[in-house]
Amino acid sequence: MELGTQLLQYLLSGLATGAIYALIGIGFSIIYNATGIINFAQGEFVMLGGMVTVFLLKAHHLPLWAAIPLAVLIVTLVGFLFERLAIRPLRKATPISLVIVTIGGSILLRGLAMLIWDKDTHSLPSFSGDDPITVAGATVLPQHLWILGITLVLITLNKWFFSHTISGKAMRACSCNPRAAALVGIDVRRMVLFSFVISAAMGALAGIIVAPLTMTSYDVGGMLGLKGFCAAIIGGMSSGLPTVLGGLILGVLESLGAGLISSGYKDAIAFIILLLILFLRPQGLFGKPESERV
């Protein structure tokens, strides 16, 4: 096989993986922008999405088209409860205590998933078959197209929500200056809750659309969550296009790294990029520098 086709294959695989990172990354950004919290439990929403769907399919024999929306709904409810029970009661909401609470929440959710279901890996059927599609010598699966398509739709919806709806605008106001937002009559606490709900739903959907390719188990959330966070950092914690690009860049770099350099150090690539961006361009790859927030 010639190098050109090989490169194309790396690129396509990378884009498919990157789309997932992007979806998870946007979940991070939405919460961060509304609240200033990095939600370490974001990866667990992804895990829950996949696991709940598997459970609905296997134990309740629901068809796929019914299981998916129901699973998203259930995980959204988990996101709602998570904000109500863990974030809101926090008396001293310092960054450190927020980090610790969300880490605790992620461990708890993972443990509960293990107890409620099992420690096994499960697979989900593909949405539309497994016959590979050939593109100039390289191949993709129909599921990859689903991933790219759903990501695209979600991001457009997201963009529309934040620029054209009252709630979306209110959430943006909270991210700029919560006190000022409260003064003009925005219920900041409701917006915080709202951001958790949206993120949980997006995470769940990400978890569902990847499960046919990657399979799912109670402990998949950790690494996926971290990669999603790397994507968000590359995009400067934006909840729009920059984070999507961040995810895609990360996916492609990983895939190229694994193919051309060393697959053992593949995971290191994401974190080295994370560190470099944090050190050199904390505003993200595409953002303009802003003055230090004290």
Binding site: I96, V101, G104, G111
Partner: protein, 323 residues
């Protein structure tokens, strides 16, 4: 250390530690206490950073691992004297932390948490992948026990004293540090960094120094761990371990040295008594971390005395009611 009361407290602490093996001789609990000691060292180290300087780290297990691997490789592959290796390991890790401390500690809050987490993961990947040096994921075996003159630290009792003497030294040092000029400056940074900078505290350098010191203590704990276990594997130095350390510090109370000891002791011993929990352990950890942060942000150390003060009055109230 300030005042006779503090000294007395430390003396009692040291005496309890040194006498404890006589209560547990011949029991496996002594073996668990050896690891509780190592965890205490780690928790105190993290607390210096988190509680005093107010800087979070989610990658401290990596420094622990660096110490362990450095000692293992130097003594086994290169036949160094274990004590020399331990000192070299601690100093090198300290220097390394000092160097990376400058860019890392420029970050704040969540960004700092993520950067240290990323650092920890990168280092663990190196343990896994640098097979020629570390023997990779299957682990490094055949590390010698420590010796000192005629003594060989190969029994639980010997290891207990080895580890806990280090802990006593570290606790003494940390208590002094807390009450020194550096400690006060640290608390100033913690409470209001800008104000501290205004009154002339070199906040940045101080944070980096504490970071390096903290990493050094972790490396020391790593060396001890390697020689006690005689086998190490990358899985012992991952993110979960960093989170466990964080839990110990949070449970004990940020900024309290004895609190870290209590947190480490509790979290090391608890699973032994709750071994029936099996599968519930992970849920328990997560729940504990959340409940403690939400309801007792100051940790056990500050809550327990209050509870103890209230207990007698409660008892009296109950007696009155019974009568």
């Amino acid at each position: 250390m300030g005042g006779a009361k503090e000294l007395l407290k430390y003396g009692l602490f040291a005496a309890t530690i040194l006498l404890a093996p006589y209560l547990f001789s011949g029991s496996y609990l002594l073996n668990v206490l050896v690891f509780a000691g190592i965890n205490t060292l780690l928790a105190v180290a993290l607390n210096l950073l988190l509680g005093y300087a107010g800087q979070i780290s989610l990658g401290h297990a990596a420094f622990f691992g660096l110490g362990a691997y450095a000692s293992a490789i130097l003594t086994t592959t290169y036949d160094w004297n274990p004590w020399t290796a331990m000192a070299v390991a601690a100093l090198t890790v300290g220097a390394l932390a000092f160097a990376i401390g400058f860019p890392v500690l420029k970050l704040k809050g969540h960004y700092l948490a993520m950067a240290t987490l990323g650092l920890g993961i990168i280092i663990q990947i190196v343990f896994n992948e640098w097979v020629d040096m570390t023997d990779g994921p299957s682990g490094f075996s055949g590390i010698p026990n420590l010796t000192l003159g005629p003594l060989t630290f190969d029994s639980d009792r010997m290891n207990y004293y080895l580890v806990w003497i280090f802990v006593l030294g570290c606790v003494f040092f940390s208590l002094n540090l807390a009450n020194s000029r550096i400690g006060r400056a640290c608390r100033a940074i913690h409470d209001a960094e800008v104000a501290a900078r205004v009154v002339g505290v070199n906040a940045r350098l101080l944070k980096v120094q504490i970071f390096a010191l903290s990493a050094m203590i972790c490396a020391l704990a790593g060396s001890l761990y390697a020689h006690v276990m005689t086998f190490i594997a990358p899985s012992s130095f991952g993110f979960t371990v960093s989170v466990e350390l964080l839990t110990m510090v949070v449970i004990g109370g940020l900024g309290s040295i004895y609190g870290s000891f209590l947190g480490a002791l509790l979290l090391t011993l608890l699973p032994e008594f709750l071994s029936v929990m099996h599968d519930y352990e992970i849920v328990f950890y997560g729940g504990l971390l959340m409940v403690m942060t939400i309801f007792m942000p100051d940790g056990l150390v500050r809550v327990m005395p209050a509870l103890c003060r209230r207990l007698p009055s409660l008892r009296r109230a109950k007696e009155d009611a019974d009568a």
